[in-house]
């Protein structure tokens, strides 16, 4: 799985996240304004606050539209601009009228806190519009609309006009942030193609490794055996049953290789594969006792069942070839999403680390095969005491 979010999606995703964050920032500013003016209204019963609350609601509705609509139609954009202009004008006019009624307030300029909260909210809704429209022009439009309306109203009502430093600074920071994000993204995401390619190569390598592992296991179980048979036969005619078996082995190997390891041994369900493995071992003189929940095995996928059956066959073959005893137990245990098959013998045992590198049965035919289908193998063995091999596969 890739670890890197594609550059092609990063910019849009960041814009969407910024838009949502800005919307909540804007709403918080409006809520702050509502709370502040509400507290003033409570403290001064003569102050009529409802026009401010209505104006706040109008401004919030404009932001909500930008937050919710999926596509920016020109008519919708024009409507939102109109709503916001009306909202801020109504809001500022009411605040100015109030300020004029309180001449003792030394901070009663056009940049008063409550005006700043509303213009900041509109600025943030401009960022919210950036998920639908070009982000920087959206913010510029919001700033011009908010500050322009407030300044025009202040001039019209002969109210002291002061540049709103906090709103202007916030506007500059927002634009700067958007520019920097673009520059920074271009630089930091330069590694993304390399990492994506590496992940793809890795995925392909793992898939190929798995496919090769399955073929190798089959080669070990079939072709090497057939070569051994041929090497021990005298020159002359080859019996038909030997030819048929060699042909069947070749068909299995070629079929597995051609189909990327997905080919199954024809007609081999787990029961069939297991039975075949047990029969082969019994034919070789091994007394195999089978116990456990055999029916649970029917839930295995065909690919897993096939791998398990073939690995089982190799396990029992190892008992015949190396354990020095003529009996083995087979236990089938179904668990939470897994099936475990254990092959237990009380034979010679061995030290796993000391098994020669050329002994491929455990590595390829058992471990490689089971791991290729998402399973695991555990071996417990003590020289002179015996060996238990646990094959666990996903159900």
């Amino acid at each position: 799985m890739t670890q890197v979010f594609p550059s092609s999606l990063a910019a849009h995703s960041t814009n969407v996240a910024l838009a949502r964050g800005a919307f909540w920032f804007g709403l918080t500013c409006l809520a702050g304004s509502f709370a502040g003016i509400g507290s003033i209204a409570l403290a001064r019963p003569g102050f009529t606050a409802w026009p401010v609350f209505a104006a706040i609601a109008v401004i919030a509705v404009g932001g909500l539209v930008l937050f919710l609509v999926p596509v920016a139609h020109p008519a919708m954009v024009a409507l939102v601009i109109l709503i916001e202009a009306v909202g801020i004008a109504w809001y500022a006019a009411t605040v100015f009228v109030y300020q004029n009624s309180v001449p003792s307030d030394p901070s009663a300029n056009s940049d008063t806190l409550f005006i700043s909260l509303a213009t900041t909210a509109m600025l943030m809704f401009g960022v919210t519009a950036g998920r639908l429209l070009p982000p920087i022009p959206s913010v510029v439009t919001a700033f011009v609309l908010a500050e322009g309306t407030v300044t025009a109203l202040a001039l019209a009502t002969r109210h002291p006009v002061v540049v709103d430093i906090s709103a202007t600074a916030l506007f500059a920071v927002l634009v700067l942030t958007m520019i920097l994000l673009r520059l920074s993204r271009a630089r930091s995401r330069s590694a993304e193609p390399v990492i994506s390619r590496a992940n793809q190569a890795n995925f392909a390598a793992v898939e190929r490794e798995r496919a090769d592992s399955r073929v190798s296991a089959l080669v070990h179980d079939t072709v090497l055996n057939e070569l051994a048979v041929v090497s021990t036969r005298p020159p002359g005619e080859v019996p038909q049953n030997v030819r048929d078996r060699i042909a069947a082995s070749l068909a299995r190997v070629v079929g597995e290789d051609a189909q990327g390891g997905e080919a199954l041994v024809a007609g081999e369900s787990l029961h069939g594969a297991l039975a075949a493995a047990v029969d082969t071992a019994r034919a070789a003189g091994l007394a195999v006792t089978v116990e456990g929940d055999l029916d649970a095995a029917s839930a295995l996928s065909p690919r897993v069942a096939s791998a398990l059956g073939l690995a089982m066959s190799q396990c029992l073959g190892n008992v015949v070839a190396h354990s020095g005893v003529n009996a083995a137990e087979l236990a089938v245990i179904a668990g939470d999403g897994i099936l475990e098959v254990m092959v237990v013998d009380s034979g010679a045992g061995f030290v796993e680390q000391s098994v020669g590198g050329d002994r491929l049965g455990l590595r390829n035919s058992i471990r490689g095969r089971i791991e290729s289908v998402g399973g695991s193998v555990q071996v417990w063995t003590t020289p002179g005491v015996g060996t238990s091999v646990s094959l666990t596969v996903p159900l």
């Binding site: 799985m1 890739t2 670890q3 979010f5 990063a10 995703s13 960041t14 910024l18 949502r20 964050g21 909540w24 918080t28 500013c29 709370a35 502040g36 507290s39 409570l42 309180v102 003792s104 307030d105 030394p106 901070s107 806190l113 900041t120 943030m124 920097l180 630089r187 930091s188 995401r189 590694a191 993304e192 390399v194 390619r197 590496a198 793809q200 890795n202 995925f203 392909a204 390598a205 793992v206 490794e209 073929v215 190798s216 072709v223 090497l224 070569l227 041929v230 090497s231 005298p234 002359g236 005619e237 080859v238 038909q240 060699i246 070629v254 590198g357 050329d358 491929l360 590595r363 390829n364």
Partner: protein, 369 residues
Amino acid sequence: MTVTRNATRWQTPQQLDPIGGITARLIVIVSGVIAVCVAIVMTIMSSSQISNPSLAVLAIAVLALTVAYFIRASSPFYAPLRLRSHVVVCLGALLAVVIEAASQWGTNAYVRDDWGPIAMAIVVITLGTYRGDLEILACTIGSSVIIGCVAVAIAASGSTVTPVPVAVLVVTMVTPVLGSGFASAAFSRTLVRILLAWRTSVEAQIPPTGEAAMPPTGHLAFLHATVIPFLDGVVSTGTLGEQDGARARRLAQELRVLMVMDAEQTWLTGVIDRFEDPARVAGEFDSAQRGCLRALIAHVQSSDSFAPRTVRLRLGLENGQPAGVLEVDTIGEASPRSQVGPYIAVARHVFSAADAVFTPGGFALTFRV
């Protein structure tokens, strides 16, 4: 979309997209510098309201240290930014707010020109890339309560000249931090949902497997070229010649040797020429770890800042855990730190531990699986 509620709650954008943290780091740096500049400028502009200049300087120093810590913690070389760092940043900014308020104790005429809440808001807003929404909300609300108390205390001191109720002073000081925190949390939550949805869709896709279709190599090539034709010949003719027995033995031996050689190979074969893996731990790497190392190796092998022939990898066991070190010599005077930053960020995400070290003339990445 199969995004579970709990997964959305506790994952962070940086965890899901390590490179996103690097993109945002420039904003952390710039906004941090802006926050400190705002603090200095506003301190100078409202100097007439300062009753304790030492505390005013201390407040700026605490803010600067907090910003410096945040910039360091957001580095890809220390990624991901952990909860502890988040708490340190919030507490540091909050401490600056409190000390700044103390520096104007009894002389604070206008709380609106107090820089503490504004600076904290600027710092907090960049946390959205690095931490989860619930964490940010918790820090925001906790901080706001404390700042609200500070506002009430300032009002109680009787120094303010604005004829407004206490609630207005609280709103003035709390709104920037609340707004910034809510924005940051919403940013984080939205990004996490987008990234989780993307991951779900990526996992549902089957990537192209170009290499899987490549012709067989090693023992499989030998099998197809030599062994199968030989056995096919035996099947089709139905007879064995004088030399066929010996040839079968030889083929079996060669096939077994090649199988052993192939089994000894790891996924690193073909990825890097110089590697040591005496404990054979390469197989313990998961897919993401392999992908990350492949990418870094590919980068240093193709970059002008590194000597490609000097790339070497040593794997082994460290306290029983697979670990390794990737080393390469650097070329030229300029440090290629920023070049490898994205790879280090990803490495710190996919490995249980990963550290990058630049020495004069060299670069090393140590990691534990």
